[in-house]
């Protein structure tokens, strides 16, 4: 089935925040810090207020307060991210003042006239600098820059095993800072509705209810007076699953001024002042026996989390995820992990597609290839030896995660087969004889998805997301409306959830309307992130539709004068089992339920609605990615000749949407492996603040992606489906890094850091050839 979202997207009949323009709308621009670390000695807004068109200039004195994410852990230090910086700035791009004017042009003119007296201090702009003894501190009140440091796992036997192992690998891996860069940046429009005494907030977000709660809490107004609407949202990838300062400020300004206030994030702000992620370093030791069995793993993890904790997930989101999920799809009996969140004078991190899984997969998959090389084993064989096997399920991992059935080995074998792994060495040798450097690399991973409240509770956030609810109702004509707390922002939920309802009620998906993204019209929910929506929101939808189906059957049984258990719901009709001539349409039942309620069975409520909630334990999708690449010795460039994905997300409800998620994810993973990196200089100045410098790949750089499916139905989800929104991004960096390492391994070059810069690669090849 095709996506119902696409015709309006393709023809421009969409409604994004910037398409909304209530009369009298004012436009906001933020004065942002040019320094990474500075005291603010004073702010003079008077010249800005005199600029034509400027209506107001607001500073921390006008809108105090901030966002404070909390983890209930003694090892965690919370930070207050001020809405507007008052006495200090901690990263370039931090908002200091909000200029509100009759146009964005005038607002920018005004922003130039806000005079801020800075006293710049030393910046810490790298992990090394932040962790060095005596380093400047990002937060004065702290003794160091460790916002979180946890010895999460340990094992008394680990050191012995490492010492005695047939192969002990030690390596350092680093991954570059990247950002989601959605096509639509953040955007917000707020207005006070005097008639209803309500604050309306239109916002480009993944989490409308969370925005509502946060706006109400921070502005100290009753939550029922706030209505948050997410109209069309042009991508999020995690960047919009947190609540930012600007969204709150726009709401505060609208409340204060009594006029609609709009802020549309421009690309500079999006790159330099929204949210980043994935800048991590791993020092690992891994022990293998002579057969290639992984015996023990010791990981020391540092995440550069920027200046503040994002709300509500906190800066623990990456380090905790990394330590918990490090073993991935491999059996592991002995594990130690220390993990830390390191503050720097850089943009804070937020969840970005994959959240540490692209990095741990890069680490673990590079370790597997290194171990294979050390032990003279084939990379596929060593993986096969260590992957969780069919007979192991349910497998309880060393970190306590319970792995439900998946197809780890099967996906590897299929991927290896599609790429002709058996005769690869001969083909590689032949290419080398022609002077060509080609490589084949694999990446196996598990993707934990659809986890509910109990799993999130283990993170010990002050706010625990997880459940979902669905409200479903049938109108008198038999049309169905289902309202959900999840929010598709590009994924195609309106299509997929309509299919779920259609499957359950036997009605045409075209007669199912999915309502999302309006807190007045949907049950409280957690929005869309962490590959949760189809599992949890889809599960709630299926259960609600099932409850509605039961009501239809009860009514039909009464009207048809047959037993309820003999009524079947099929193809839009309710019919007696074995007697299809005794039947009525769903629409006829709906008509009775609304317009002839006196004919309903005794005790049956008038109308047709149902509600269900769902809060599952979580499920693992899995995949193997394989890539064939060629490295140019002349330019250092990497070309991807083939890219194969064999994925298993359980029951596939819409194949086109699943494939689209895989392709988009792989593109972002290739970006992190070969193109994108946010670079800061030693003073904390961002060097890559435009799309000319931050290299988001285009269609020309992304190769065709071959996708094959396996289907291990999920036992925990109502639909049998598993989440799969992040897998593409998770698997690709490791597959590319392994393929490139395979291409140049004979020259002694290994890729232990991404992105792989052509200049680095060319220089290493030249050095190797000069030896």
């Amino acid at each position: 089935m095709r996506r119902v979202e696409d015709p309006p997207l393709l023809t421009g009949d969409t409604r994004f925040v910037d398409d909304l323009a209530p009369p009298g709308t004012l436009h906001a621009c933020f004065v942002r810090s040019p320094y990474a670390a500075a005291r603010i000695e004073g702010i003079d807004a008077a010249p800005a207020r005199a600029v034509p068109g400027v209506e107001a200039v607001l500073t921390a004195g006008d809108i105090p307060g901030g966002l404070r994410a909390v983890l209930d852990r003694p090892e965690f230090t919370p930070t207050v991210m001020p809405l507007l910086a008052g006495d200090a700035v901690r990263h370039v791009g931090e908002p200091i003042a909000m200029v509100i004017a009759d146009s964005r042009y005038s607002a920018e003119d005004g922003a130039e006239e806000v005079l801020v007296d800075y006293d710049p201090g030393p910046a810490v702009a790298s992990l090394d600098r932040a962790l060095a003894p005596g380093a400047p501190r990002v937060h004065d009140e702290m003794d160091d820059n460790l916002l979180l440091q946890v010895p999460m796992y340990d094992d008394p036997e680990l050191d012995d095993i490492l010492a005695r192992a047939a192969a002990l690998l030690e390596a350092r891996f680093t991954t570059g800072r990247v950002t989601a860069a959605p096509m639509e940046g953040r955007a917000s429009l707020a207005r006070w509705d005097r008639r209803d005494s309500r604050l309306l907030v239109y916002v480009s977000t993944q989490v409308p209810h969370l925005v509502r709660t946060t706006v109400a809490d921070v502005l100290q107004i009753p939550e029922h007076t706030v209505r948050v609407i997410a109209p069309d949202v042009g991508g999020g990838f995690g960047l919009k699953c947190v609540v930012g300062r600007e969204e709150i400020l726009v709401a505060a300004a609208a409340l204060r001024l009594g006029r609609p206030v709009k802020w549309i994030e421009d690309r500079y702000e999006n790159l330099a002042a929204s949210w980043h992620g994935h800048e991590q370093r791993y020092d690992v030791r891994a022990a293998f026996d002579a057969n290639g069995t992984l015996l023990a793993f010791d990981a020391d993890i540092s995440c550069d989390v920027g200046a503040y904790s994002c709300f509500p997930f906190s800066c623990g989101v990456e380090p905790l995820m990394a330590a918990t999920e490090m073993p991935g799809p491999y059996r592991l009996a002995h594990y130690r992990a220390r993990t830390r969140a390191v503050a720097t004078n850089k943009v804070p991190i937020a969840p970005y597609r994959g959240v540490s899984r692209p990095q741990i997969t890069f680490v673990m998959e590079r370790v597997m290839d290194k171990a294979a090389a050390r032990l003279g084993l084939d990379p596929v064989d060593i993986r096969r030896r260590n992957l969780i096997a069919r007979d192991d399920f349910p497998y309880t991992g060393i970190t306590g995660l319970v792995y439900d059935p998946a197809s780890y080995r099967e996906s590897l074998d299929l991927c290896a087969g599609h790429l002709g792994h058996d005769d690869w060495r001969a083909r590689q040798e032949a290419a080398r004889r022609d002077g060509r450097l080609v490589g084949l690399g694999f990446s196996c991973f598990s993707e934990r998805t659809g986890y509910g409240t109990p799993a999130f509770a283990q993170r010990r956030m002050s706010i625990t997301p997880g459940f979902e609810s669905a409200d479903i109702r049938m109108d008198p004509s038999g049309g169905v409306t289902v309202a959900v707390g999840t929010l598709g922002h590009g994924q195609g939920h309106r299509t997929t959830l309509a299919q779920v309802v259609s499957d359950e009620l036997g009605v045409d998906p075209a007669h199912v309307r999915v309502v999302q993204g309006d807190t007045d019209a949907t049950p409280y929910g957690w929005g869309t992130f962490a590959s949760r929506s189809l599992v949890i929101g889809g599960g709630a939808t299926k259960l609600a539709a099932g409850a509605l189906a039961e009501r239809l059957k009860r009514v039909a049984a009464h009207l048809l004068e047959v037993a309820v258990e003999d009524v079947e719901l099929r193809d839009g009709r309710l019919q007696a089992a074995g007697a299809p001539e005794v039947s009525m349409s769903v629409a006829e039942v709906a008509r009775v339920a609304h317009h002839a309620a006196h004919r309903l069975p005794p005790g049956e409520e008038a109308g047709l609605q149902a509600r269900a909630g769902f809060d599952p334990p979580g499920t693992f999708s899995n995949a193997t990615h394989g890539a064939v690449v060629e490295v140019s010795p002349a330019t250092g460039e990497v070309r991807i000749h083939r890219y194969v994905v064999v994925e298993d997300c359980g029951v596939v409800i819409n194949p086109m949407i699943v494939d689209g998620q895989v392709r988009g994810g792989v593109a972002q993973g290739i970006a992190a492996a070969l193109y994108e990196q946010l670079l800061y200089d030693d003073e904390g100045q961002l060097l890559t603040a435009t799309f000319m410098d931050y290299l988001v790949p285009t269609a020309a750089e992304i190769p065709p992606i071959e996708i094959h499916h396996l289907e291990t139905p999920c036992e925990y989800s109502a639909t049998g489906a598993k989440g799969m929104g992040e897998g593409g991004t998770i698997g690709a960096p490791a597959a590319i890094a392994n393929a490139v390492s395979d291409a140049v391994g004979h020259l002694g070059i290994e890729v232990d850091a991404i992105p792989i810069h052509p200049a680095w690669m060319r220089a290493r090849i030249e050095e190797a050839r000069a030896r």
Binding site: D109, R267, Y268, T635, Y675, T698, A759, E766
Partner: protein
């Protein structure tokens, strides 16, 4: 990312445009396709007091062959040059449409102009490099005279040209039909500014290089000629070994700066690879 305030004037003739420039002073800027100027204004890196829009001046976008040379009006778009089907142009000047393809993306090529690119003088711009290789002559009009500036005299520094603030480019002439000319470039992504671009022109007589032009972009503040490499090839047959020597000589003469995209040394090595490739293609080898 909104420009600062500016006045806007639309000129209906080149004379009017020049008069406006002369009157408005040196903070006024011409705008044609706007593909470089508008982004710079949006970042407020450029803050012209006034724009003089020459985009609708008639008759300045012709592409024609006159007396064996090619003449292109300053307002001809990259896309118009790329898609020309005039056999007179394609016969001998086909390096122009081949080069146009490297410029940005299609929407940029649809609005950006040849004259605008030369006046902007980005050191990595394709037309600037090719203008050097083809010994282009730039017809420049000012309040009192119209003069011809040779391409080699046009580029005076980073984003700087020999044009006076009250002058505009009317036409670009490529006086010599090149025997063989190639253009190659290397960029991280399709459509990006080149890390390094190279063009080689070999006018051969009986297999001997009569005229040699090698031009490079992205390796310094202006596009440059690789005169050492040219000297190696002049008067000799461009053998594979000689081409490799010339490429090494071209690279050795460079000292590109480092930036976020590449260390200077990487650009220098790319220059060698690209000059070798450009020379190889200019010999007509496959």
């Amino acid at each position: 990312m909104k420009p600062a305030r500016f006045e806007y004037h639309r000129a209906s003739s080149s004379a009017e445009a020049i008069e406006l420039l002369d009157t408005l002073g040196e903070d006024a800027k011409l705008i044609a396709g706007g593909q470089s100027l508008v982004p710079m204004m949006s970042f407020r890196l450029a803050r012209p007091s006034a724009l003089v829009d020459i985009g609708r001046i008639p008759g300045l976008d012709a592409i024609s062959v006159v007396d064996g040379g090619l003449r292109i009006g300053a307002l001809a778009t990259h896309a118009a040059i790329e898609s020309t089907s005039d056999p007179a142009v394609l016969d001998g000047f086909d390096v122009l449409p081949r080069t146009a393809r490297f410029i940005g993306h299609l929407p940029i090529r649809t609005r950006g102009t040849l004259g605008g690119s030369l006046a902007h003088a980005d050191p990595a711009a394709e037309w600037c490099v090719l203008a050097l290789a083809l010994d282009a002559e730039v017809v420049v009009a000012g309040p009192s005279e119209t003069r011809i500036v040779a391409a080699r005299d046009l580029f005076t520094g980073f984003l700087s040209t020999a044009l006076e603030p009250n002058e505009m480019i009317l036409e670009v002439r490529f006086p010599h039909r090149p025997t063989r000319c190639s253009f190659v470039e290397h960029s991280r992504r399709s459509g990006d500014f080149a890390l390094v671009a190279a063009s080689a022109r070999l006018d051969l007589e009986a297999g001997i290089c009569r005229t040699v032009r090698i031009a490079l972009g992205g390796v310094g503040p202006t596009p440059v000629r690789a005169v050492e490499a040219e000297a190696l090839l002049a008067g000799r047959a461009p053998s594979s070994e000689l081409r490799a020597d010339a490429a090494r000589a071209a690279a050795a003469a460079l000292d590109p700066v480092s930036d976020v995209h590449a260390p200077g040394e990487h650009r220098r090595r790319l220059a060698e690879v690209l000059v070798r490739t450009a020379l190889h293609r200019a010999t007509g080898a496959p």
